[in-house]
């Protein structure tokens, strides 16, 4: 159809786009694919390197031996068991703190807050908090906890929980929003209190998405180093006690060993990196499975 209004206007060219327009289109399409390939390269590179170099370091002793050897020692002396235990304990406790609080916060925002000033402020600040660098969380917990109570795995958990909280709030909020109001109203009609509606109807309806969001937050926390540097100090032997005494974790060990020129230290760094990546990947895969099979309401 030609543009009818103004006969003097240029008519629209309905032929196939001219040569250079088509080439331009093709070039841009190719460039977009190239962008994707450029993204693939470092990812592939890093994964291949970590697996190749880390695999030779991994052994049952590496994963379980609780004495971390001095940097200069070659591979085979001691192991990273202390760091594995530390990572698991510290991250688990952080999840224990952050996930319930985050879910409750999101429930507040979605169910109770509405359009009120306070709710808007909390939502806004929660978004702002996701952008705060993780090192700030570490410094913060150092100032208000470590200075008074000393280094401990607990302090590390607090720092990681501060990091996870806004992430869990945001993802839970998005999931709660997707639950249709008809569910809530039906439950109200049957005479439930708001708390009951939320806990017995809304939460289970969104549980898939909530869990998967929480798992991703845990994966993120497990890989964080900066918050731990100021809160757990370091140890050379497994400290099972989360609440007293310094501790260590995989990301911290990787960081320290990466800066060392010793061959043994670098090998241990690669092994720890492979272990850490395995943990985070497993969490990510489980999150995906949960999303696929247990989530009722998706965007």
């Amino acid at each position: 159809m030609t543009v009818a209004s103004d006969p003097a206007a240029r008519t629209v060219d309905l032929r196939e786009p001219s040569g250079w327009r088509r080439s331009k289109n093709r070039i841009m399409t190719v460039l977009m694919y190239v962008a994707f390939v450029i993204v693939l390269i470092p990812l592939g590179f890093v994964l291949v390197t970590v697996v190749a170099k880390g695999a030779s370091a991994i052994s049952w002793q590496f994963l379980t031996n609780g004495t971390i050897p001095p940097n200069v020692m070659p591979l085979g002396v001691g192991g990273m068991g202390a760091a594995v235990v530390g990572t698991i304990e510290i991250t688990a406790f952080a999840a224990l703190i952050a996930i319930p609080l985050g879910v409750l916060g999101a429930i507040y925002l979605n169910e109770y807050g509405g359009k009120g000033i306070l709710a808007r402020l909390v939502s806004f600040l929660s978004d702002v908090m996701t952008g705060v660098p993780s090192i700030i969380m570490g410094l913060f917990i150092y100032l208000i906890w470590v200075v008074h109570f000393g280094y401990s795995g607990l302090a590390g958990s607090f720092a990681l929980a501060c990091l996870m909280l806004p992430i869990v709030i945001r993802s839970t909020y998005e999931m709660l929003r997707l639950v249709p109001d008809s569910l809530r109203e039906g439950s109200y009609a049957l005479g439930s209190t708001k708390a009951r509606v939320t806990l017995t109807v809304v939460l289970p309806a969104a549980i898939g998405g909530i869990v998967s969001g929480a798992l991703l937050a845990v994966a993120r926390a497990a890989g964080e180093t900066a918050p731990l540097l100021f809160t757990i100090l370091t140890v050379e032997a497994t400290n099972k006690n989360l609440f007293s005494g310094p501790n260590t974790a995989l990301p911290e060990q990787i960081f320290v060993n990466a800066q060392s020129p010793y061959v043994g230290a670098q090998a241990r760094a690669w092994g720890a990196a492979l272990t850490l990546i395995a943990i985070t990947f497993i969490l990510m895969i489980v999150a995906r499975i949960v999303t696929a099979r247990f989530t009722r309401y998706t965007r």
Binding site: P17, R21, K24, M28, T29, M32, Y33, A35, F36, V39, F45, V46, T49, V50, G105, Y108, L109, Y112, L118, A119, V122, L125, S126, V128, G131, V132, P133, S134, I135, I136, L139, F140, L143, I144, L165, P166, I169, Y188, G191, T193, K194, A195, R196, V197, T198, A219, R220, G223, T225, A226, L229, F230, F255, A258, A269, W270, L276, I277, T280, F281
Partner: protein, 329 residues
């Protein structure tokens, strides 16, 4: 007719007095619990600001504005000038944006406009994988594998641009190192790509189909459609996504600490070693025993905190402003 009172959702049916608006204790308690959880965010942010401001006053008062923004950072002589770190932080983030933005936006466009739904899932998986690799692993790979390899390339570039005016200042110089601003910028670009891509995707997906089809109907090629229909709509959102990515780059600590080389020089040479605010805090905190040293590091942290908040606020402001504009339209 009998008045059908609307059942108050907050009161259980069958309560003795239908006009009784007092809610059961458990319900009220739960509401307070959720409110407290929500307020936690406020409390934590406020405490962060207060505690860090309090601890850094020693540095502010002792060094003064001049001291803080000087180039000389030497704990041994009690000089804590942070300009070099500020410079390093900004330079690396700028490099990261220059490299990362075209790639992230390109992939976002690819995902939303080019690939079919079937292929979009593997592509999204790749982006998610990229996001899940911990920053310390990027740093480890960066310093042991990437940096030595890049050093060769930097040396070749440096000898190639030797003598050419502007290029020599940027890419030349005898002290090129694999651990440098540019390498940190590359690693940062890789790390901020997932966040920019996923945020951009969300925005681009909200472009109304009718605009896109209208462009096609007028005979546009896909690229022309993107330029004419998608971009104007998603411009603000993508810019906001870029700012969020910038915020991440400014605050990234560990990967940068490992690959930036740790020198507090301010230099135009991008292939030279430098340092960033976050990297300095992470690497020097263990040695900071003196009052002013520690206060200076916390002051740096406060600075970073404020900077990243401003950038994130900017990101939100852009989105709000454009949303207001489209709402009003």
């Amino acid at each position: 007719m009998s008045a059908v009172k609307e059942a108050d959702p907050a009161s259980p049916a069958g309560s003795a007095n239908a006009l009784n608006h007092r809610r059961p204790l458990g319900d009220r308690g739960f509401q307070i619990l959720t409110l407290a959880a929500g307020l936690l965010v406020l409390i934590i942010l406020a405490l962060i600001a207060i505690s860090m401001a309090q601890q850094s006053t020693t540095w502010f008062t002792t060094a003064g504005l001049k001291g803080i923004f000087s180039v000389d950072w030497d704990p041994a002589t009690n000089n804590f000038g942070a300009l070099g770190f500020l410079y390093g932080t900004v330079i690396c983030s700028v490099i990261a944006l220059i490299i990362g933005v075209p790639i992230s936006v390109g992939v976002a466009m690819l995902l939303t406009q080019v690939v079919s739904v079937r292929w979009s899932r593997p592509v999204v998986t790749v982006i998610d994988l990229l996001a899940v690799v911990p920053s310390v692993v990027w740093g480890l790979w960066g310093i042991i594998v990437l940096a030595p390899w890049l050093q060769h390339i930097y040396l070749h570039i440096a000898s190639a641009v030797n003598g050419i005016p502007v290029l020599d200042t940027l890419f030349g110089g005898p002290n090129v190192s694999g651990a440098s601003f540019f390498t940190a910028g590359i690693i940062l670009a890789i790390m901020i790509t997932p966040i920019i891509t996923s945020l951009s995707r969300e925005v681009i997906a909200t472009v109304p189909a009718i605009d896109k089809e209208g462009a096609y109907a007028l005979g546009a090629t896909r690229w022309e459609m993107i330029r004419g229909a998608v971009w104007p709509h998603s411009q603000a959102g993508v810019t906001s996504a870029i700012l969020v990515g910038l915020g991440r780059a400014l605050g990234e600590t560990i990967a940068v600490a490992l690959v930036i080389g740790n020198s507090d020089e301010i230099t135009g040479h991008l292939f030279y070693s430098g340092s960033s605010i976050a990297a300095t805090i992470a690497l020097q905190f263990g040695e900071a025993t003196g009052g002013e040293f520690r206060s200076a590091l916390i002051g740096l942290g406060l600075f970073l905190f404020v900077l990243t908040i401003i950038v994130n606020l900017g990101a939100r402001a852009i989105v709000e402003r454009s949303a207001r504009r489209t709402r009003g339209a």
